[in-house]
Symmetry: none
Amino acid sequence: MIIIDGMADRELKAYKDKSKKTPLEIANIPNLDQMAKEGLCGLLDSLGIGKRAGSDTAILSILGYDPYDVYTGRGPLEVAGTKIKFKEDDICLRCNYATVNDDFVLLDRTAGHISEGTEYLEKTLNEIDLGVEFKLKNSAGYRCVLLLRDDDLSPSVEDATTEEGKKIEEIKPLDDDRGSIKTAKVLNEFIKKSYEILKDHPVNSKRKEEGKMPANIILPRGAGVIPRLENFYEKYGLRGAVVSGIGLVKGMGHLAGMDIIDVPEATGHIDSDFMAKGKAALDALKTHDFVLLHIEGTDEVSHDKNVKEKIMVLERVDEMIGYISRHVEDTLVTILADHTTSTDLGDHTADPAPIVLWNGDFITDKVREFTEREMYRGGLHRIRGMDVIPVILDQINKSKKFGS
Amino acid sequence: MIIIDGMADRELKAYKDKSKKTPLEIANIPNLDQMAKEGLCGLLDSLGIGKRAGSDTAILSILGYDPYDVYTGRGPLEVAGTKIKFKEDDICLRCNYATVNDDFVLLDRTAGHISEGTEYLEKTLNEIDLGVEFKLKNSAGYRCVLLLRDDDLSPSVEDATTEEGKKIEEIKPLDDDRGSIKTAKVLNEFIKKSYEILKDHPVNSKRKEEGKMPANIILPRGAGVIPRLENFYEKYGLRGAVVSGIGLVKGMGHLAGMDIIDVPEATGHIDSDFMAKGKAALDALKTHDFVLLHIEGTDEVSHDKNVKEKIMVLERVDEMIGYISRHVEDTLVTILADHTTSTDLGDHTADPAPIVLWNGDFITDKVREFTEREMYRGGLHRIRGMDVIPVILDQINKSKKFGS
């Protein structure tokens, strides 16, 4: 299963009055097109029609875990994706290394997509005196996680904003609970102290000299406790592995008891070595029944509203997928986007996303290209996230019969 | 949102062996065709596949109120659509002014689509001595409502028949409850007394002289208590308005806290001034985020099994919709039928009905005409009533994200 995060899009404004095209329609993606042509295609509404999904809730549903039952926030999934040790009641948050000015106005939610030196920042941040036990750990790129441990904490707190141009306001508790109030207070102190300790940090002095955005603040969000996911193998009888550059997807895989394949070249951004990931996924197939290969770069550049890079990433992903298609034999390949991310809006939308099954035992349809528009006439029609694994299990003749 | 009630149809028997056409396929509707061509099309099953819906349950679901949770009968919605004052426990019914012969056989369920003089009939009817507090109030055309108020009444009673050619039988209670027995008795007395007091009423003498059907009986049905609907603005953040000629739709809007725009030219029948309604809807858009424009005439003529008039009404509606399409700018227009009404059968069927989104941010499909058949290949595929508002909210970028 290859999830190309936020790959789907709307008709781009720049092309709106002329050719009305989406990035998938513009990009040169011969391998994806060929697989759509040979495959069984359709539209995917991860959470259901008209429901706007995050990557976390979308991918949970695609793996068959109903997010309306199991989702406790993104923080815990990100925490589970690091090698940090967590306990059941820990408050888990995901954080951004980000850039603010002296007035705490957010300039860059990714600190210029920082990719070096964060190990030193992590060390410094863990020296903060916060009054409660905590641990900050880097995930990938500008992402890190924060874990708070104390008797009376609660995850019912707001997120720090990640909207560029906005001032970083104090995080408020979401209810009157003593634990929520205390947690908000602790987080606000952590944000403030992160700025104090990072603003003149040598890593940032160097970044500024190089004309890069300094990583001078930590913005925590998605607070929650660790969710319980049924073991993937017990659920489906499939030994599963995950290849991903981001903690979120590794975390889900880890919580579901899947093996996490670390690929050093996977960055969770467009500088990621997709081919290395593709090869790692092919390798993992030798020892696993199910491999989830997740590509994050497509979503990142869509959030950045960068059409040009989205097209470029799609073309690079297509090369990797071509390589996979030439190197699998008896493997059903499912390619899908977890959700649509509009590059014009810089955010997810609820538009249905493409899904293609390839190299399987299905009846092919008339779809000729891997685009949102062509998927309208796919033989799968319009399915939900929770439908995906059942369809796959049936294709590989592993689905259970109800009745006789 | 333009709801064209019962617009969808089946292949007409008269065309069955030749061209196999539906009224939408016969009618000359260039504006609807153009919008289908430019829009995102699909099929709508208001209550779900194979579920035959009333207009009340269908439109509730289209507005996002699950009728399986909130529906208490049509009567209360019609009552809410008049300016009558109601209390929580009142038994609400909708009624027809109708025509029976001396043997109580129903000749015309609409009293010849009576449109004049009902204010005098209403006054007379309210003078009936019934033993319980009641109020009869005219709605539009042949429609009126009846409200019963007493300590021990119940809505569990049968409807009076509105099937022409049938004898008006006594309404029976639906259970052994003392309140149901009493309510049935009160209603039967009301029906009987309505005939006695109306049969020689001057308004009817005049109608008979003019060769028109007399409105000589009141037929109550759809008993229920007022349902609670979540406020539309609180639910969606949209200031809503309703333009409709019939009490049912006004009632839903009123209960949902939407503004009711009264258009004197709107009759709820085919003599309605659609263009006046269209202009009122355009006006309402200046002060509201969401305007529901409801056209009843299409359903009326379908129940009357009048193919010729259905085609004529569709063509008149099309002109109005063309006017709207030329006068909106940044407004997403959704056009749909709440359900199919077969003109051959004279009743609703569960066949899915057309839905088109136009002037939005979607990826267009290959539909070329506004017909039931063309909608089969629409990009929306097949959605439910409860999906409509979520899809609209996402199109206008107002949907909430679940997850991140």
